[in-house]
């Protein structure tokens, strides 16, 4: 894991990118729950593409954190961009790991879902199914990210706690095999 070894001896900072795909940003909020340890982190890490930097495209990175599963075409593009630019790609949270809550639409027909939500629901007045060309097309099923690209590590949890994310990242930065024991490893 030398590729992502930290910056203790004045070496270049590790570049870290993050994105939320079909997620709720809860895992990013949990990431912020490392609180004042963020100061320690930015000593060793430089943020690339992330909601924290508002950088729109991912450059060459050491670590990529992906929250959320894959529910539309744009998610696929972002995920592939991360895979091609990140040496180590990590699935963060239940939705990235197994599709999570968005995947609970998978047994329903997508066309019927859109019909019901935008046209036939009782409180809809002159509704229409959104069709702006800028909108990414939804996929018929939601998928976890390991079904699209190779994933190096998984941090389960809804969300994983700030402590779990911190433990995982510091293990990785310090060159240890990342490991979450009881009670940091949880699926809920």
């Amino acid at each position: 894991m030398d590729a992502v070894a930290g910056n203790r001896e004045g070496r270049r900072k590790v570049r870290l990118a993050t994105a939320s795909l079909a997620g709720c940003f809860g895992c990013h909020m949990s990431f912020l729950d490392i609180d004042e340890r963020l100061f320690e982190l930015v000593e060793r890490v430089e943020f690339d593409r992330s909601p924290l930097t508002d950088i729109k495209h991912c450059g060459p990175c050491d670590i990529g954190l992906i929250e959320g599963g894959i529910c539309n075409a744009e998610n696929v593009h972002v995920l592939r961009e991360f895979r091609s630019h990140c040496k180590v790609l990590i699935a963060v949270g239940a939705c990235a790991v197994n599709g999570g809550l968005p995947a609970q639409r998978n047994h329903l027909d997508l066309g019927q879902c859109l019909q019901e939500i935008y046209l036939t629901a009782p409180d809809v007045v002159s509704g229409q199914i959104p069709n702006d060309p800028e909108l990414p097309l939804p996929l018929d099923k939601v998928h976890p990210i390991h079904e699209i690209v190779r994933i190096d590590y998984f941090i389960p949890g809804c969300p994983p706690s700030g402590d779990a994310i911190w433990k995982f990242l510091t293990d990785l930065l310090d060159g240890r095999t990342p490991r979450l024991g009881h009670p940091m490893l949880h699926f809920d």
């Binding site: 239940a94 809550l101 590590y153 699926f187």
Partner: protein, 248 residues
């Protein structure tokens, strides 16, 4: 004459005549992962989580009778890798969304995934379509989480004498059914007082109008890993199951 014993991971573990490897291990407070085994019911060895290596052969610890001098490998990287793969297959075959499951924290499938450090499902998800049965006034049946352990089948048939549940179909089409002409739980004579209501190791059989009585994070396997709870698992009985309204 000294008591016969097996060598479990190199440690002598005594057993009584008629005991299986699982019985002997549990009595000695040694954890062998398992899902379909329950000390009150006749073992059937279907989940294969308790697979151990006895005298060089893979066998189910819950069905294999202990024999004097038998060398048994249990807690080894090789066996735990295989068990983790079995868990991953169980997870992708059903719809196991822990964050929205009332059984989360009390679920044996989830607890074993923690114990064996299963971090991802690894395989592609099946996402099967398994509608829930909410017809019964007291109990919800969520088939999405069924792992076909047959504990409810055995409890209903052998203890309650009602045979409310059964498995139907073969191979990947095998599924849990309710023994009523309509197939609905409401049309069976099932009741919350039945033993079968309290043995599900996962979140299929749930009591209605009772949610989050114990908060997430404070539940049975949140507090202590399942591998440390052998004594409780061995002591599972009708009395205890009725008390905690849940996993058997």
């Amino acid at each position: 004459m000294t008591q016969p014993s097996i060598l479990l991971d190199g440690q002598p573990v005594p057993f009584a005549d008629g005991q299986t490897i699982m019985d002997a291990a549990m009595a000695a407070d040694i954890f062998i992962p398992h899902l379909c085994h329950h000390p009150e019911f006749k073992p059937q060895g279907s989940c294969k989580l308790c697979t151990v290596k006895a005298s060089g052969r893979y066998v189910s610890a819950c069905t294999m009778p202990a024999r004097d001098g038998m060398e048994v490998e249990n807690n080894s990287p090789d066996l735990n890798d295989k068990r983790r793969t079995l868990l991953q297959m169980l997870f992708v075959e059903g719809n196991h969304f822990c964050p929205s499951c009332e059984k989360s924290g009390n679920c044996m499938l989830q607890a074993l995934a923690y114990e064996l450090e299963m971090l991802s499902p690894h395989f592609d998800q099946f996402y099967p379509n398994r509608p829930v049965d909410a017809s019964h006034p007291e109990v919800l049946l969520d088939f999405n989480r069924c792992i076909l352990c047959e504990l409810c089948v055995r409890a209903s048939r052998d203890v309650d004498g009602k045979s409310v549940f059964s498995l139907s179909g073969r191979g990947i089409d095998k599924h849990l059914i309710v023994n009523a002409e309509s197939g609905r739980l409401a049309d069976s004579d099932f009741s919350w007082a039945d033993k079968a209501a309290h043995v599900c190791p996962v979140g299929v059989i749930l009591r209605k109008r009772e949610g989050f009585a114990v908060p997430i994070g404070k539940r049975r396997y949140d507090v202590e890993p399942i591998g440390m709870q052998v004594e409780r698992l061995a002591a599972r009985s009708a009395g205890e199951a009725y008390e905690d309204c849940g996993e058997g």
